[in-house]
């Protein structure tokens, strides 16, 4: 049987069955020759085999034949192969947690051995609200009567040392909390923040992110809007009290920013800058219907869920835009990988894990008996934030503050237990609230050029026959591509770059490699540009870790 001597296209293969076999074998050869990048399941350390998807009879667009990488193929082909894996995160950074005390900020890298830390200083002040932005950690600091340490601060990711003050709201009310966020309107990223004004009103401010400006924010293009009294609710919400909101959550898909204290909440659309009523929440009725006081509230193990009135200490929501709050709760966090909600009690003793469906509008009460939620004693955390890869970070406040990584022991079975790993002790009290991991941040546009000359085995000047691409998730488990658009463009350095081709539907899971159509990526080329952006449909997007290229010449 004759071996393929040129790259396979969909038309070539479609023409006859035996050529499909050849194409498959050639691609399998590429895979077998470059078997050094097998990923591992984080739970059981078993190899998570990648399969190679050929540009087979159904063609690139329809999904080709999937070939198991495990199948043995003789290596008698004379083709040269090249391969490599490069970091390629769909989030602002690789997995990280930011911990804020009264005088410092600590960034902990969660995927590196020993969990290395980087620190920034802050002028002394308690009470911090956090949000991870493209620029670094935004910190909203309480007004304790001094203009020098209140307002909006930034621990710049690219500039460890001292945190910088971005903005001081002159009209910030005494003792007011300040909650921060970041979002995109169209392609323009913003920072936003809300607080109680000196006149006792709710106030929301936004400023564009512009990396050419000092500290990356164009303060001169500030837009602001003042709403009614903080103590008064809107459309079913109850008021948050004179000091404003203690916690917040950002729904990037609906551009909705909700802020709450233990006594109530309010919301603002960050795009239109209009105040949002309670009914803007997809699951607002699970907290009882304010128009019908007899309406039952959803019960989830030890929690009675609320959307107004008595709420969690630090407000939070899931990645589907549902508000997740309960009287007697400290806060909640949604893990999108296993689709579970982690919650803890106000005193930090009871830790509850529930299926996400428990907080959906069409869900039902959840209980231990139904195996839809379970309570874990003595997991001692207060502030919590999901990493987006199956883990949540929990912080035990105190001095020192202790930082834990928490995950399900068996991702398919809540009852099997939770694994709690101590990863850091930080001097001082981590008086801060979520989000401090970036899990609710939008997917920033990412463009990365992968120069084939930097890959192992590439021979400059020799034509490329075939390129195969794939990606891996931060969770290290098999994941489907969610909420992201992946576009590719192959080209020769120094020559004009062709337009991007959307390969999202082909690169649809982390377990498969996909052969890029020869018409898009073969011949005299030496680079591929990978573009990743949000598909705009959800904030529950896959956290990518790396992008992988294999090729034959």
């Amino acid at each position: 049987m004759k071996r393929p001597t040129k790259a396979l296209s969909a038309n070539d293969v479609r023409s006859s069955a035996w050529r499909l076999c050849l194409g498959s074998a050639a691609l399998l050869f590429i895979g077998a020759a470059c078997s050094n990048s097998t990923s591992y399941d984080s739970e059981n350390k078993a190899p998570a085999k990648k399969s190679v998807k050929a540009a087979g009879a159904e063609g690139i667009a329809g999904g080709g034949k999937t070939i198991s990488k495990g199948e043995a193929v003789p290596r008698s082909d004379k083709s040269a192969t090249f391969s490599g894996e490069v970091p390629f995160q769909s989030v602002a950074s690789d997995a990280e947690a930011w911990v804020v005390t009264s005088t410092n900020v600590t960034r902990i890298e969660l995927n590196k051995p020993g969990w290395p830390k980087t620190q920034w200083s802050l002028p002394a002040n308690d009470g911090n609200r956090t949000y991870v932005s493209e620029l670094g950690l935004l910190i909203g600091r309480t007004n304790r009567g001094s203009a020098t340490n209140r307002g909006v601060w930034l621990a710049r990711r690219d500039q460890p040392g001292a945190s910088v003050k971005i903005y001081d709201p002159a009209d910030m009310g005494n003792q007011s909390r300040l909650s921060v966020t970041s979002f995109k309107i169209g392609s323009q990223p913003y920072i936003g923040f809300a607080y109680a004004s000196a006149s006792g009103n709710k106030k929301f401010v936004r400023m564009p992110i512009d990396k050419t400006k000092p500290n990356g924010v164009d303060v001169a293009r500030k837009e602001e809007r003042e709403f009614g009294p903080v103590s008064a609710g809107l459309g079913g919400f109850s008021g948050v009290g004179s000091t404003g909101a203690y916690g917040s959550f950002m729904d990037q898909t609906r551009k909705a920013f909700y802020l709450g204290s233990g006594s109530g909440a309010w919301g603002v659309n960050v795009e239109t800058m209009a105040e949002l009523p309670l009914s803007s929440l997809p699951n607002w009725r699970i907290g009882g219907d304010p128009l019908n006081p007899a309406a039952p509230k959803r019960k989830i193990c030890n929690f009675t869920m609320g959307t107004s009135g008595s709420l969690s200490y630090a407000l939070s929501g899931d990645l589907k835009g549902n508000l997740v709050a309960s009287a007697g709760a400290y806060t909640f966090a949604h893990d999108p990988v296993n689709n579970v909600i982690f919650g803890n009690s106000s005193s930090g003793g009871a830790f509850t894990v529930a299926k996400q469906q428990c907080v959906e509008a069409n869900g039902a009460d959840c209980s231990i008996a139904a195996d839809s939620c379970h309570i874990f004693p003595n997991v001692p955390v207060g502030p919590m934030s999901a990493v987006g890869d199956g883990r949540v970070v929990g912080i035990q406040r105190g001095s020192p503050s202790r930082v834990f990584l928490i995950s399900l022991k068996d991702k398919a079975n809540i009852k099997a237990g939770v694994e709690v790993t101590s990863i850091a002790e930080i001097p001082g009290d981590a008086y801060m609230y979520n989000d401090f991991t970036g899990v609710t941040l939008y997917a920033p546009d990412q463009i990365k050029v992968i120069d084939f000359k930097s890959l192992s085995g590439f021979q400059a000047g020799k034509p490329v026959k075939q390129v195969v691409a794939g990606w891996s998730a931060q969770s290290k488990n098999r994941e489907d591509l969610r909420g992201l658009k992946l576009e590719l463009a192959c080209y020769k350095t120094g020559k004009s770059k062709p337009t991007y081709v959307d390969y999202s539907s082909q690169l649809k899971n982390s377990a498969s490699l996909f052969a890029i159509d020869a018409k898009d990526c073969s011949g005299d080329i030496d680079a591929i540009e990978v573009k990743m952006s949000s598909d705009g449909t959800t904030n529950n997007f896959t956290r990518l870790s790396t992008f992988e290229i294999r090729g034959a010449q």
């Binding site: 007697g328 009871a350 231990i368 237990g417």
Partner: protein, 179 residues
């Protein structure tokens, strides 16, 4: 081999045996520990298992908190504080004398008793009247094997298990269903 050498070997053998026993015992006891009763060491990883759906009263864990919020359910209905009912606590599954009792009428008032000064008490102000917070230490949870709900008519219902609903460092809530 002289006596001195024999003693030396015997000592070494004993030491070896002790080290072997220690190597078997220490990992076993470490593995069964639940977290957080002591500070974690950075890098330490533990697996925490969930509370069971029900505790048999005969097997309540020894580390239950001394403050407990009990919600009494009299066969599908909350126990009416004005029913004149009495809750009796026994340390045997059958027979014996109650070692603790509380009148249902006290449910209304016990929330605000001194000694319940934690933040959780404030939440209890909104709770239904058939909740009772027992936080004065007068009820030894570990002695409970059976509870009886006795109405003035003499009608009696029995519970031999409780369902944990809320568990904190200081207060545990549990539902008790009398059948």
């Amino acid at each position: 081999m002289n006596l001195k050498k024999q003693k030396k070997f015997a000592l070494m053998g004993a030491l070896g045996l002790a080290m072997f026993v220690a190597s078997v015992i220490i990992p076993t006891s470490c593995g069964s520990r639940t977290p957080v009763k002591k500070p974690f060491v950075v890098g330490e990883k533990v697996v925490v298992t969930p509370l069971p759906e029900k505790y048999a009263l005969a097997s309540l864990p020894a580390d239950l908190p001394r403050k407990i919020l009990l919600t009494f359910d009299g066969g599908g209905k909350q126990v009416d504080p004005d029913s004149g009912a009495l809750i009796l606590f026994y340390d045997a599954l059958e027979g014996g004398e109650a070692f603790y009792s509380i009148a249902a009428a006290d449910f209304k008032f016990i929330h605000l008793r001194t000694g319940c000064a934690s933040g959780d008490v404030a939440l209890l102000d909104n709770s239904v009247e058939s909740d009772v917070l027992i936080c004065d230490g007068s009820l030894d949870l570990n002695r409970i094997r059976r509870m009886e709900l006795v109405y003035p008519s003499g009608k009696k219902k029995v519970a031999t298990s409780l369902s944990p609903e809320y568990h904190e460092d200081e207060v545990m809530a549990a539902g008790v269903l009398f059948r």
